[in-house]
């Protein structure tokens, strides 16, 4: 299973829509102060869906 080295979330771009959080298949993300945040990087399987579906260029996943 692929893994992520890091997940960047740009708070200035994140509009807090929760798409990434709700659609993450492994529950690796969460909302904090109305913005997306990484909950558990180890869980991330680097499926890239959060990055692809974020409408706001606010989240980037760097694969290991």
């Amino acid at each position: 299973m692929a893994k992520a080295e890091k997940i960047e979330i740009y708070a200035n771009l994140c509009k807090g829509c929760e798409i990434c959080v709700e659609l993450c298949p492994v529950d690796a993300l969460e909302m904090k102060d109305f913005k997306a945040a990484v909950k558990d990087l180890d869980k991330c399987i680097a499926c890239m869906q959060c990055e692809l579906r974020c409408p706001d260029f606010a989240i980037e996943v760097y694969k290991k």
């Binding site: 200035n12 709700e22 869906q49 990055e51 409408p55 260029f57």
Partner: protein
């Protein structure tokens, strides 16, 4: 490495104006990756749009961009393409833009089979003006102008395009970000008039009125209600009820409008 969108985005224009969770940002990203994947020269890319939330997209793209009047995206695009067929012309707009006020331009662009790629962003609503029903709003759905539920019949945009003569017709959704990119690429490469209908969530104008408030919920809805065309063709009418096919729905080769005109009048 994360994908670098910045080479196709105009500097300083992001964040865009779309609401939190609006599907259009997902479409824009797929579109950028599709164009990038084809290696097109930005100087040759023309993007036209009408008026509406969808039509704001070209303003963000570093290309030759033309934000026109409501519904007229394809009419302007046709002028650009006929005047300079070397340009790669992409016309876009919302469901209202393309099938209500611009419906006439839409069917005639299909009929001509002019080499333009048309992306229709179908969010089932007039988003920009605050949620009035459009020609694609499902029967029974609520809209600000359908307080008792919508009583109108709906257009099926893809079928409309096929019936009118488009030579490449596809449908996708914002759930399918990667397949969307592939379909867009195919449409862009197709010689002739190509249409991609993209089902997108409008949490503000449609979702709120119809108890689909969560943007993620709207994307899940798209997954649950869409069926790949190969599977669709094997389904019974009962199984199809309430669902819609996605993928390449129609693809034929026919003479392209400007080439046919040029050959006919002795220009080529």
């Amino acid at each position: 490495m994360a994908y670098d969108y910045s080479k196709y985005l105009r500097a300083g224009k992001i964040p865009h104006i779309w609401c939190p969770g609006c599907g259009y940002g997902i479409i824009m990203k797929s579109m950028i990756r599709a164009i990038d994947g084809l290696g097109w020269d930005k100087n040759e890319v023309v993007m036209t749009s009408g008026i509406g939330c969808a039509s704001r997209l070209p303003g963000y793209i570093d290309a030759n961009t033309l934000h026109t009047t409501h519904g007229r995206s394809l009419a302007f695009a046709t002028g650009v393409k006929v005047a300079n067929p070397k340009l790669k012309v992409i016309a876009m707009g919302g469901d209202g833009d393309m099938t209500a006020i611009g419906g006439n331009h839409f069917i005639h662009a299909c009929r001509r089979n002019i080499d333009i790629t048309c992306f229709v962003f179908n969010n089932y609503i007039y988003g920009m003006t605050g949620g009035q029903y459009s020609p694609t709003t499902p029967k029974g759905s609520r809209a600000t102008t359908a307080p008792y539920g919508n009583s109108d019949n709906q257009f099926d945009i893809a079928q409309l395009a096929m019936g009118a003569g488009a030579t490449f017709v596809a449908r996708t959704t914002t759930y399918h970000a990667v397949p969307m990119e592939k379909l867009m690429k195919q449409a862009l490469e197709h010689k002739g008039f190509s249409v991609v209908e993209i089902i997108a969530g409008c949490p503000t104008g449609y979702g709120r009125k119809n108890k689909l408030a969560s943007p993620a919920g709207m994307i899940e809805w798209q997954k649950d209600h869409s069926v790949a065309i190969a599977q669709w063709e094997k389904m019974s009418d009962e199984e199809k009820a309430g669902k819609f096919p996605i993928g390449v729905l129609h693809e034929v080769n026919k003479p392209e409008y400007v080439e046919a005109y040029d050959a006919n009048v002795g220009l080529s």
